[in-house]
């Protein structure tokens, strides 16, 4: 700064801000023909930038904190989903779903932290930070809900789980959960829909693996349900976000796979023995699982 601006000050001119200075400063300034650029704290420009700096740092810090929590939410939700997929591996279904429910409760604690961070803020200002976690959570909840036999989870149900009552824990030794006021994490409908679109991918996987485990009814049920969902998605006149149309494409592919599976079951189910049929499907499945691990 000093080297670059040095020659600017040689002339002893009066810049705009000098007028605002006191008379004393002005006199001394005229005596010195060459002086350092004014990056002092008294300048009104610098002072206002100090406040901008504080505002900006506050926003960025909050954003980073939200990204961190959101990542935890994503990881834990993914684990809940993997857990539900174990339904087919011979474990008791109710136990699996109960354990998954416990995992989801743990996720909600994290979501409560997000709600607290967003208290008094505009949710949409930080939506990019929390969107991945929120969608993964919705996906897990929808999957869990469906496996309980309750069909498609509604936005109202998702929303009601995310209304956190005020806690007044006298035990403050638990640093993670100090008492907090009642907060609500508002779920934007678009996020909910994107979560549902992901959820159909899980249904497809469930369908394929269920054949391998010898369940011949579930694929047809799932196929019917996915058709309903696809029908719902395709009814949207508004192309909406780019994200939504991309997920629509994936949904279509998933549905295609499930329909083909049902077709194969129908045509060849009576012809070939079950264990061979399982082989047919597990080879088809390996493609998806490979892809799913990456994403």
């Amino acid at each position: 700064m000093a080297a670059r601006s040095g020659h600017l000050y040689r002339g002893g001119f009066h810049g705009g801000h000098h007028k605002r200075n006191s008379g004393k400063d002005r006199v001394s300034h005229q005596k010195i023909s060459r002086r350092e650029p004014k990056v002092d704290e008294n300048s009104p420009i610098i002072a206002s930038f100090r406040t901008y700096q504080a505002l900006m740092d506050r926003k960025n810090d909050k954003y980073e904190r939200l990204v961190k929590i959101s990542r935890d939410v994503t990881i834990q939700s993914k684990r809940a989903i993997f857990h539900i997929h174990r339904i087919n591996s011979g474990v008791d279904k109710t136990t699996v779903l109960k354990e998954a429910d416990e995992k989801l409760i743990a996720v909600r604690e994290k979501l409560c932290q997000i709600a607290l961070e967003l208290q008094g803020e505009d949710l949409y200002q930080y939506i990019r930070a929390i969107s991945p976690g929120l969608q993964e959570y919705i996906e897990a909840v929808a999957f869990h809900h469906y496996c309980l036999g309750n069909g498609l989870v509604s936005l109202t149900q998702v929303q009601s789980d995310l209304e956190f009552p005020a806690t007044e824990k006298p035990s403050t030794e638990d640093g993670d959960c100090p008492s907090h006021p009642a907060v609500t994490l508002y779920v934007p409908p678009v996020e909910y829909m994107l979560g549902l679109a992901d959820f159909t991918g899980e249904l497809m996987r469930l369908c394929i693996t269920s054949v391998s485990s010898g369940d011949m009814d579930l694929p047809f049920q799932l196929c019917q349900f996915m058709r309903e969902v696809y029908h719902g998605f395709s009814s949207f006149s508004y192309a909406g976000s780019w994200e939504l149309s991309r997920k629509m494409h994936t949904l279509r592919q998933s549905l295609h796979k499930v329909e083909n599976a049902c077709y194969t079951l129908q045509v060849r189910g009576l012809e070939i023995p079950k264990h061979m049929l399982a082989d047919v499907f597990s080879s088809a499945d390996s493609e998806d699982t490979g892809r799913n691990d990456i994403t």
Binding site: G16, H17, Y124, P188
Partner: protein
């Protein structure tokens, strides 16, 4: 597996999308009006680049300031169309309009008083709120973007004021932009659009310094005390 609730979920969402689209259309209309007025103000302010305008900034500023009344009215209309607490949901629609309006306000304030506009002054001039909590405001990033546009415009003004024979102005501008640059250096910018725009500021600074250099080595920019006679000599 009842299909009724499933279909209800989707029809609810369809309704939501339709409403969302309606709001967006309304916002677009308002933003277009603001952009139109902003263009008019810009045209008016561009007069200072003309040789005649250089000497008559006062009347140009006066006219432009009056035009801001339109902007204020239009911002009020826009704010009324907006659901509460959803400013950032539709932020992209007015981001550029806001940046442009901040720039115009900052340019006007600079021409009038050689000062940097504060967020408070900008909010007042545009008829919006200063803080997010109070309603429709100007996002900080957009405000700073507007200031960077100002620096770019001033580098042009420095050149043109020399052409018009005003040799003292580039020095003032150089001083002002250097301070603005110092201000921006205080910020911890992320790697985003604002950062990219800020990286362009150094070229504006450089351009202005070159103008000052040209003027100074030719002795066209004498100390203020002797200015009147010196200028008379030149001419």
């Amino acid at each position: 597996m009842a299909s009724a609730p499933t279909q209800e979920t989707f029809s609810n969402f369809q309704q939501y999308l339709t409403k969302d689209q309606d709001i967006r259309e309304e916002i677009r209309v308002s933003v277009r009006e603001i952009e139109q007025t902003a263009r008019e103000i810009l045209t008016a302010l561009q007069g200072v680049h003309q040789p005649s305008g250089c000497k008559d900034t006062v009347s140009i500023c006066k006219r432009s300031r009056e035009m801001f009344a339109n902007i204020r009215r239009q911002y009020n209309e826009l704010a009324a169309k907006l659901p509460a607490e959803q400013y950032y949901r539709f932020h992209d629609h007015w981001r550029f309009a806001n940046q442009r309006c901040v720039f115009l306000a900052a340019f006007l304030v600079y021409l009038e008083s050689d000062k940097l506009i504060t967020r408070e002054e900008a909010a007042e001039l545009l008829g919006v709120k200063e803080r997010r909590e109070d309603g429709f405001h100007i996002d900080l990033d957009d405000f700073l973007m507007g200031l960077l546009q100002l620096a770019n415009e001033l580098s042009r003004l420095a050149v043109n004021s020399v052409t018009a024979g005003d040799y003292s102005r580039p020095t003032k501008i150089a001083n002002f932009v250097a301070e603005l640059d110092a201000g921006f250096r205080l910020l911890n910018l992320k790697n985003d659009a604002l950062r990219k725009r800020f990286d362009g500021l150094k070229y504006d600074v450089k351009k202005i310094e070159e103008v000052v250099y040209d003027v100074t080595i030719r002795g066209l920019n004498p100390p203020p005390a002797q200015k009147p006679e010196a200028q008379a000599e030149e001419q």
